[in-house]
């Protein structure tokens, strides 16, 4: 990308310009951009499909560039969910949508799509799900939109966007033991506040991020929305290339974009990652962050390890390492949710599922499940849960008087053993 004549641009600006036929874009510009993929799930896509039916449209813009992932209430929780999924299934068949995932193949969308090679660096992805910002971890621009946007995107291949200002975040140094990607993003949200990056692009960089795996980077970008961000993005590197080599079985071409050195940022924030400790977000905001070691008085009723934030291989691996040969506290229900079938299978063959069951945990099929108060682990009045999920708003996992504490898989596993919020060092 040698555009010496152009004004210096951020990675986000470059991707948006390339997708709207422009040489350059500036924050505040409204653009109509071409998308590489439109994503919908069993909650959001039915509203889009209804719109498409009302318009009496007979075809989508590209049958290969739409992904329909019924992951929220599957396996079907009730009749209403079954009807929703049926709507998706029938639409997918009629419109010949290539990437429709039936139960047995389906996984939590933001874990599934990177695994399937459907999201690549430099691409522009929109999804009717707020955590679509996850794919920024691969150097793509991806953002959450609504059902009307999705209908429009499926029909036209386009999305209207306001070009966001960018905030650059640099994490220097190296992480301490037991500190993970989840702690980095909780730390950042606590510094920014839940709307500190509203409408903005969060460009996350630095030595500590370079040392984090792709899975960890997916965790970080996944929660950019919890600071209000339009997208989270991490510049691609060797780890990105290696990951893409593995998953890009369709050999689709892609472009690596990097921010120019003189690119303009609204703010630049710098942090020493070596000072971050294991953290937990208290109810009822993801920004309400405390140190785990100051939170060990909080007794709990349930632990959930899973979700689009932390339901991947590394997450289950560390949970298994901590739970090996241990027992879940008698007053705690431990629910483990591998995010995709591939992850489930790997956890099975590596013997981790055996560890979870022997410890007294239960393993769920891939689903968003309890994260959004859907099913598979809803909380009663007054109950407390440590979850590796992404939101702890009032009523998020069940009763409005229940409480969700957000933490890393290591902290969640340690807490399951102790029956209270616990530091992994304790077990």
């Amino acid at each position: 990308m040698n555009n010496m004549k152009n004004k210096p641009q951020t990675i986000t600006e470059k991707i948006l310009a390339a997708h709207s036929g422009k040489k350059e874009v500036s924050p505040g510009d409204f653009i109509l951009a071409d998308i590489d993929l439109a994503l919908g799930n069993d909650i959001t896509a039915p509203l889009s499909i209804k719109k498409i039916r009302e318009l009496n449209e007979q075809k989508v813009f590209d049958t290969r560039k739409i992904a329909l992932v019924p992951d929220h209430f599957t396996p079907n929780k009730d009749i209403a969910s079954a009807e929703q999924c049926k709507t998706l299934r029938e639409f997918a068949r009629k419109f010949q949508i290539e990437h429709y995932y039936e139960v047995g193949k389906v996984g939590v969308e933001h874990a599934l799509l990177p695994e399937e090679g459907l999201v690549l660096p430099g691409e522009l992805i929109v999804g009717a799900d707020s955590h679509t910002c996850t794919y920024g971890a691969l150097g793509a621009f991806s953002t959450g939109v609504g059902s009307t946007d999705l209908a429009f995107a499926m029909l036209t291949g386009k999305i209207w966007l306001r070009v966001p200002e960018s905030i650059k975040v640099i994490f220097y140094g190296n992480l301490k033991p037991w500190v993970s990607a989840k702690d980095i993003i909780l730390f950042l949200i606590s510094k920014l506040g839940v709307n500190g990056a509203n409408y903005k692009s969060l460009e996350i960089s630095g030595e500590a991020i370079g040392n984090i795996s792709i899975e960890g980077r997916l965790t970080i970008c996944n929660m950019a929305i919890e600071a209000g961000a339009k997208n989270g993005i991490i510049a691609p590197d060797d780890k990105t290339r290696q990951f893409i080599d593995q998953v890009n079985t369709r050999k689709r071409p892609f472009v690596l974009y990097y921010s120019d050195k003189e690119a303009e940022y609204e703010r630049i924030l710098e942090f020493d990652a070596g000072k971050i400790e294991p953290l937990v977000a208290f109810p009822h905001l993801p920004s309400n962050v405390q140190k785990v070691k100051d939170s060990t008085h909080i007794k709990i009723d349930q632990v959930v390890i899973g979700s689009c934030t932390n339901g991947r291989i590394e997450d289950l691996k560390i949970a298994a390492e901590i739970l090996r040969g241990k027992k879940v506290h008698p007053e705690v229900r431990l629910i483990i949710i591998p995010a995709t079938q591939k992850i489930y299978l790997e956890a099975l063959t590596k013997g981790w599922l055996e560890i979870f069951v022997e410890a007294g945990g239960v393993v769920s099929p891939p689903t968003c499940g309890p994260c959004l108060g859907g099913h598979m682990g809803i909380l009663a009045r007054g109950e407390r849960c440590v979850a590796t999920t992404n939101r702890n708003f009032i009523g998020r996992m069940g009763h409005p008087e229940s409480e969700v504490y957000l933490a890393s898989p290591a902290v969640a596993a340690a807490s399951a053993i102790k029956g209270r919020i616990a530091h992994p060092e304790e077990v």
């Binding site: 509203l47 318009l55 009717a128 799900d129 959450g144 059902s147 946007d149 859907g374 708003f393 009523g395």
Partner: protein, 162 residues
């Protein structure tokens, strides 16, 4: 545009606006609308007269991308939401479905206040307190979508003009 204010605080999430526990009604927005804002104020729907306003603090509509949230606010008869700031997906969803959002200082508005919105002048008039609050009207591109009744209607209109 005139009506009564119903005041809420900061960070009203889509989980509060459209609670997950009623998601069995998500195919039936008219029914779901009977529970709008229920976890924030169980009496809200009872107190609401069509044409009234939701008034809130910072970051209204944070959280999930569920378009059910702005849609059921509109179906319930709320004519506009006034807040200090809006979360971005809620913001774009509201534009796309034609729900009016006003970003302004809401400190001087309380529940029960009679308010009027003048879109041309960009002012919120608090009739009960005899005060005026200025706001910056949304950019023309967004206004055009809103005035068409939403993105789909906007596109239809554009197609007709082509």
């Amino acid at each position: 545009m005139k009506g009564k204010a119903h005041k809420f605080g900061d960070n009203i999430s889509t989980d509060l606006i459209a609670p997950g526990k009623y998601f069995h009604l998500r195919n039936n927005l008219e029914e779901l609308a009977k529970h709008v804002m229920e976890d924030a104020d169980p009496e809200f729907v009872k107190k609401l007269t069509p044409g009234d306003f939701i008034v809130a603090g910072e970051n209204f509509g944070c959280g999930s991308s569920r378009e059910h949230a702005p849609r059921i606010i509109k179906i319930a008869g709320v004519s506009a939401v006034l807040a200090k700031s809006f979360a971005r997906i809620f913001f774009r969803n509201s534009i796309n479905i034609g729900l009016l959002l006003i970003e302004c200082n809401t400190d001087e508005i309380s529940s029960g206040d009679e308010i009027e919105i003048n879109l041309e002048k960009g002012i919120v008039i608090n009739i009960s307190r005899n005060t005026e609050i200025p706001f910056i009207p949304p950019p023309p591109f967004m206004q055009e979508i809103s005035e068409s009744g939403g993105l789909v209607e906007y596109v239809k209109k554009k197609k007709r003009l082509e």
